[in-house]
């Protein structure tokens, strides 16, 4: 039986810079995962609908607008409302390090800034997904 890791890569908010999101999507693809990529300017509702319908193991949010402290809680809340509180969320982009603890307290499992290697993201996704399977 073949169980593929399925990851949703989404860009909430209004910034139009999707290079980072595409880079991560491509890296996860090359690591053998199935990556659902939804494009720019996703609302929390759209992200939740995609996560639910696609039954993903993880959601990765890419935010470069600086609005992460507003957007991330909304996405997490929306996921929870839909019964998807158990789906691990990671955030990447331009996130000042002083915001990392607050994001993690909200329930974000990993935060990635510039300079993160794609291998690190791949390893974390694998680890977090296998942790979910055991839980």
């Amino acid at each position: 039986m073949d169980r593929k890791i399925r990851v949703l890569i989404a860009k909430p908010g209004l910034d139009g810079h999707d290079r980072g999101a595409k880079l991560i999507a491509r890296a996860l693809r090359d690591a053998g995962m199935e990556v659902i990529y939804t494009g720019l300017r996703q609302t929390p509702q759209m992200i939740t609908a995609a996560a639910l319908q696609e039954d993903v193991d993880m959601v990765g949010l890419s935010i470069l607008s600086g609005a992460h402290m507003t957007l991330v809680p909304r996405v997490l809340e929306s996921l929870k409302e839909a019964g998807l509180g158990d789906v691990a969320v990671f955030v990447g982009g331009i996130i000042p390090e002083e915001d990392w603890p607050a994001l993690q307290k909200m329930g974000v499992r990993a935060v990635y800034g510039p300079g993160t290697t794609t291998q690190q993201v791949i390893d974390d996704v694998r680890r977090l997904v296998s942790g979910q399977a055991e839980a």
């Binding site: 039986m1 090359d30 995962m33 990529y37 319908q53 039954d55 019964g83």
Partner: protein, 344 residues
């Protein structure tokens, strides 16, 4: 909870349960097989519509626009629409980028729409091996119309015609001359032809070439069973009564329609054609012929896989190695090697 399927919840319209069921079925897990068995009697109601065509012709945008219209019809009731969108898996890593949702923003959070992306997972032919099984789950879950978008397909990815009641082939202007239009393959399977990007200067040329090629065709004379590419089944198919259709000599002629799907132009004609085709299939005894042909085709494939699995278990590995050796040394042709192995 992973690895379990709540069939009653799926039938009751629970979207989370449906998503989980689709995962288990796609992975062909024991829970997935069990769910398929339980859901099968509830399937067979939805209109299955395939959308195929070369990469970049605008399949996803067209699906987005058609779904919008089906959800907000000018008259009549809105249909519940499910979409299965297939994208290719990497032949090297098995990974995939599933990006069809990008073009489906307008319908992304409509509660009457369910979109599922699917990787081809090594299957050729334009859809995945488990696409028909996923479609069956969505059918049982009560969707009225299921749109199946294939991977960007070229000339011979024609599996979709076996799965769908209605096949839409999407073409874009400027892709080849009129000989392309009379080649065998993907154009033959079209019940509806769409020339998308109709604001392109070459759109009318494409339209003419396609319309002309249809004049050579003998639409409708190809019966459902024959549509399946003269494939030999492992068993004799059930004889279906096709006389009503043939005696009337009424054939479906595929319409050739122009759209600009990014702007929503021409979409109502396509939706109208989908409905007309469904009516045609029903009134000409074709609906159930296609259903029966599809099920028998599917049984055939499963049977072949089962035969192979059974044979693998009982065949002597040393015999295989010996025959392989002879073949690789070019002493034995692959044809004779196959026969020799079977007689082992």
């Amino acid at each position: 909870m992973r690895d379990t399927v709540d069939v009653q919840a799926v039938l009751a319209g629970d979207r989370r349960a449906l998503a989980r069921a689709l995962t288990e079925v796609e992975n062909d897990s024991p829970a997935g097989r069990e769910a398929l068995d339980a859901l099968f009697p509830h399937s067979g109601k939805a209109h299955l519509v395939g959308v195929t065509g070369s990469p970049g012709t605008g399949k996803s945008s067209l699906v987005n626009q058609m779904t919008r219209l089906l959800r907000n019809p000018e008259e009549g009731e809105a249909k519940k629409v499910a979409i299965v969108a297939v994208d290719p898996s990497s032949p090297f890593t098995g990974g995939a980028i599933l990006g069809d949702r990008i073009r489906m923003r307008d319908i992304a959070d409509d509660p009457g729409v369910f979109i599922r992306s699917m990787a081809s997972r090594g299957h050729l032919g334009g859809i995945a091996r488990m696409t028909s099984a996923l479609v069956r789950v969505l059918d049982a879950a009560g969707f009225d119309l299921i749109l199946i978008e294939t991977v960007g397909a070229g000339q011979s990815e024609v599996d979709i015609a076996r799965l769908a009641h209605t096949t839409i082939v999407v073409e874009a202007p400027g892709m080849g001359d009129d000989i392309q239009a009379i080649k065998a393959g993907i154009l033959e399977i079209a019940d509806i032809l769409v020339v998308n990007k109709a604001d392109h200067s070459l759109a009318d040329n494409t339209l003419r070439a396609l319309s002309a090629s249809l004049e050579f065709a003998r639409p409708g004379q190809i019966s459902a069973i024959d549509r399946f590419h003269h494939k030999e089944l492992a068993f004799a198919p059930v004889k279906l009564d096709q006389t009503t259709n043939e005696s009337k000599n009424e054939h479906w002629t595929p319409p050739v329609l122009k759209t600009i799907s990014t702007e929503g132009v021409g979409i109502e004609k396509v939706v109208e054609a989908i409905e007309k085709h469904a009516t045609f299939l029903r009134t000409h005894n074709q609906w159930h012929i296609r259903d029966a042909a599809r099920l028998q085709e599917e049984l055939n494939e499963l049977l072949m896989a089962a035969f192979a699995a059974k044979w693998r278990k009982q065949v002597d590995q040393r015999k295989i190695e010996a025959v392989l050796g002879e073949m690789l040394a070019r002493k034995l042709s692959p044809q004779s090697a196959a026969l020799k192995l079977l007689s082992a």
